[in-house]
């Protein structure tokens, strides 16, 4: 009845006054309601702001809800976005034991219906007869006559559901429903605010972890250290129980653990995975992220015993992709069941990308270092060749030009043999036996006369020589074999040259034995003036820190003893 005063005129002033008075009283009551509502919302805001965490805040809301509606008890369910269900988060005057454990699907019970429809439900009596009602005996729901359920929404998103109940029938006024809705939307806004803050904190931790990782990979650390840092940081940032990086061995098509923050011996020593095998192997094969809710119950997971022992539950495997190829996988395990959000998976992908970049980077660095080292070695070997030739040049007149050139060629070939073997080995080492076999055959064959029948053999142990010593050993062998052919077997049509390798008290003894003419009586290698023996002496003593000796019993032994 707005603005009745003007049209009705002034014919019935008393009637008019009464009408105005009642209008004033009505407005007064409305104002009181509004002030009460404002006060209530003030209280809600203050309590929400003072609450230490979401749980504490919801507890306050549950209390206020009971007070403003004059009901017996209340409950609050919060919608879980990853699991897409409603979880009981707070109750007032009802058993607390189910908080955090009782969950409802959307559409399940009155609460689920309200969440789905985003529309309040008010039942004044016999609430349990409503078709939507679902008995939850643990919450004593079946004893309730009345039930008021309002959705908690923020920016048209469902955040949860707020319920109040009474044991006896209860009338819910429009005003009471309105008040509860106001409280619910306050609570919803607060929850969303807290969620945003949490996700900001999480994101900022993740971002700072990622930025630290990218700083790390551009530093000069070794690859192992970088990968170790990535797993440690990933585990810490995302609270994983075990985090590991496996790299693909292209040749064997196997995944090998390269880094993990886990101290578990069992985990570290678990066998390599074939590509396609178990979850990690499949993630690499398919080049996509795979998640498992519980590895203990996943039939494809290869290590259920290990998972049981270490208490592993959910798993996410993120392939490391470089130039559109999987080069490894980042594996993360939690101790409890966990559904990974898209956001977490995206962050983990970023970590995996960083790891992939680090690996590529390290490969390039290694390649460039190898090229530089190779360049240096080749230069040094060429210097050695030049030096050998010049030393020979200074001793002109020791033999014919033919002989000198043939000797030089053999020396160059023996140095080349080491380069050859080094190129074939992944390690920076050379097998002494292999080197000896090659040099024996190359040198002896180049010097033996066509009609000479000489047996060549390498016997004894084998050992790995570092590249720095390998060329010295090769040059020595070359000279000794050359001497065996040119001096020992010079006048023989048949014979034997044997290279024998043995170890005594940590020393290596390398002997070149021949069954030809003995060394002349009183022959002193140091005084002989032979370039070959001078080379042997120099290399044995200075480069190998060993010694050279020559003796004949029934066979001639030219031996070098040195520390490997």
């Amino acid at each position: 009845m707005p603005n009745s005063s003007t049209s009705q005129g002034i014919t019935h002033p008393e009637q008019e006054i009464t009408a105005l008075r009642s209008r004033i009283a009505e407005l007064q009551a409305q104002l009181d309601d509004k002030s009460e509502e404002v006060e209530l919302l003030h209280e809600v805001t203050a309590k929400v702001a003072a609450a230490p965490d979401t749980e504490g805040m919801l507890q306050c809301i549950a209390e206020i809800a009971v007070r403003v509606t004059g009901t017996d008890s209340s409950s609050i369910y919060v919608f879980d976005q990853t699991k897409q269900n409603l979880l009981l988060k707070a109750v007032h005057d009802a058993p607390h034991g189910l908080i955090g454990r009782l969950s409802l699907e959307v559409g399940e019970g009155i609460t689920g219906w309200v969440a789905r429809e985003r529309h309040p439900v008010a039942l004044e009596r016999d609430a349990f007869t409503d078709p939507r009602f679902k008995a939850l005996p643990d919450l004593r729901d079946q004893q309730c006559q009345s039930f008021l359920s309002v959705p908690m929404t923020a920016q048209s998103e469902i955040i949860g559901v707020l319920n109040v109940k009474t044991r006896d029938p209860h009338v819910y006024s429009t005003r009471a429903i309105h008040l509860l809705k106001a409280v619910a939307s306050q609570a919803a806004a607060a929850i969303q605010g807290m969620r945003l803050q949490e996700s900001m904190t999480v994101k900022s931790t993740q971002l700072s972890a990622i930025s630290e990782v990218s700083k790390t990979i551009t530093s000069n650390l070794y690859l192992e250290e970088i990968l170790q840092l990535i797993v440690a940081m990933t585990a810490r940032t995302f609270h994983f129980k075990i985090c590991s990086i496996m790299l693909l061995d292209e040749e064997r098509q196997e995944l090998v653990i390269k880094a993990t923050q886990s101290k578990s011996r069992d985990y570290v020593s678990k066998p390599n995975l074939k590509v396609g095998e178990s979850v990690a192997g499949r993630a690499v094969q398919e080049g996509r992220v795979l998640t498992i809710l519980d590895v203990k119950r996943a039939p494809e997971y290869r290590f259920p015993d290990l998972a049981e022992k270490e208490g592993l539950c959910s798993m996410v495997c993120v392939p490391l992709i470089s130039r559109e190829r999987s080069i490894g996988v980042l594996n993360c395990y939690t101790g409890q069941e966990k559904v990974f959000s898209q956001e977490e998976i995206d962050s983990l992908k970023t970590m995996a990308n960083q790891a992939a970049i680090a690996i590529e980077n390290a490969k390039l660095m290694v390649r460039s270092a190898i090229i530089q080292e190779m360049h240096h070695r080749v230069k040094n070997s060429l210097q050695t060749v030049a030096s050998l030739l010049r030393i020979q040049l200074h001793r002109r007149g020791e033999g014919t030009l033919d002989e000198m050139l043939r000797e030089s060629i053999n020396r160059i070939i023996s140095i080349a043999t080491v380069h050859d073997l080094l190129a074939k080995e992944e390690l920076d080492q050379v097998s002494l036996r292999t080197a000896a076999e090659t040099i024996l055959s190359l040198t002896a064959r180049s010097l033996l006369r066509p009609n000479q029948q000489v047996q060549l053999r390498v016997t004894g142990e084998d050992l790995w020589l570092p590249s720095s010593r390998a060329s010295s050993v090769a040059l020595i062998l070359n000279e000794l074999v050359q001497n065996a052919v040119e001096h020992g077997l010079r006048n023989r049509d048949e014979g034997l040259i044997e290279v024998h390798i043995s170890r005594h008290d940590g020393q290596v003894m390398m002997e070149v034995i021949n069954d030809g003419d003995p060394v002349p009586e009183g022959f002193d290698p140091k005084q002989s003036g032979s370039l070959g023996l001078q080379i042997v002496e120099t290399l044995a003593q200075n480069d190998l820190g060993g010694r050279f000796s020559l003796s004949t019993t029934n066979l001639t032994h030219a031996s070098v003893v040195f520390s490997p």
Partner: protein, 192 residues
């Protein structure tokens, strides 16, 4: 080129042998040889050679680090042998006080000018250092004499020329350098 006493160092003995023979044939004397940087440094300190020829890549201490110490202690000119010819390495060598370098594989023709450059520059450097030292000593004397002159002028009301003449006279009479006389005057003035 005059006959030099040389210390050589290379971890590969064949190369060292060649270097030694080459130097000997050039008429120089190899007084000591080493297979690593640390031993080379000890030998250079011990023999004070006219030239040290060091390989860059050696165990224990590399040639550049050894050259740095040799330069700091003004022991001998250093000639570096290197398998690399990169700019940054040469830069590092120059900063370490190396006067010349030769890239492997070297020839006698490479060694000769490099050795000449290294020894000449070392000598030049030593001469300049000596000159700098004597100049700074002269400057110091001059400063002291000036202060002493000032004292005499103030105390005895002498002219500058007269004050200088007195210091000179005293130096001649006592057969002490003018610097000492000036110092004595300054000390006496401080005590009074």
């Amino acid at each position: 080129m005059e006959k030099l006493r040389v210390v050589i160092a290379d971890d590969e003995s064949i190369i060292r042998l060649d270097l030694k023979e080459t130097l000997q044939r050039m008429g120089h004397q190899v007084v000591a040889e080493a297979g690593d940087g640390r031993t080379a440094l000890d030998l250079i300190r011990q023999h004070r050679p006219d030239l040290a020829i060091l390989d860059v890549k050696m165990p224990e201490m590399d040639g550049i680090d050894a050259a740095k110490v040799v330069a700091d202690e003004k022991l001998a000119p250093v000639l570096l042998l290197t398998a690399y010819s990169q700019q940054d390495l040469v830069q590092r060598a120059m900063e370490a006080g190396v006067f010349a370098y030769v890239v492997k594989p070297f020839t006698e023709a490479d060694l000769l000018p490099a050795m000449a450059v290294a020894t000449a520059r070392f000598r030049e450097f030593a001469a300049i250092a000596e000159q700098a030292q004597s100049l700074s000593a002269a400057l110091e004397t001059r400063k002291l004499v000036d202060r002493a002159k000032g004292i005499l002028q103030d105390r005895h009301g002498l002219s500058e020329a007269e004050a200088f003449r007195r210091i000179q006279q005293q130096s001649m009479n006592t057969r002490k350098p003018m610097r000492e006389i000036a110092e004595a005057i300054i000390i006496a003035n401080e005590l009074a």
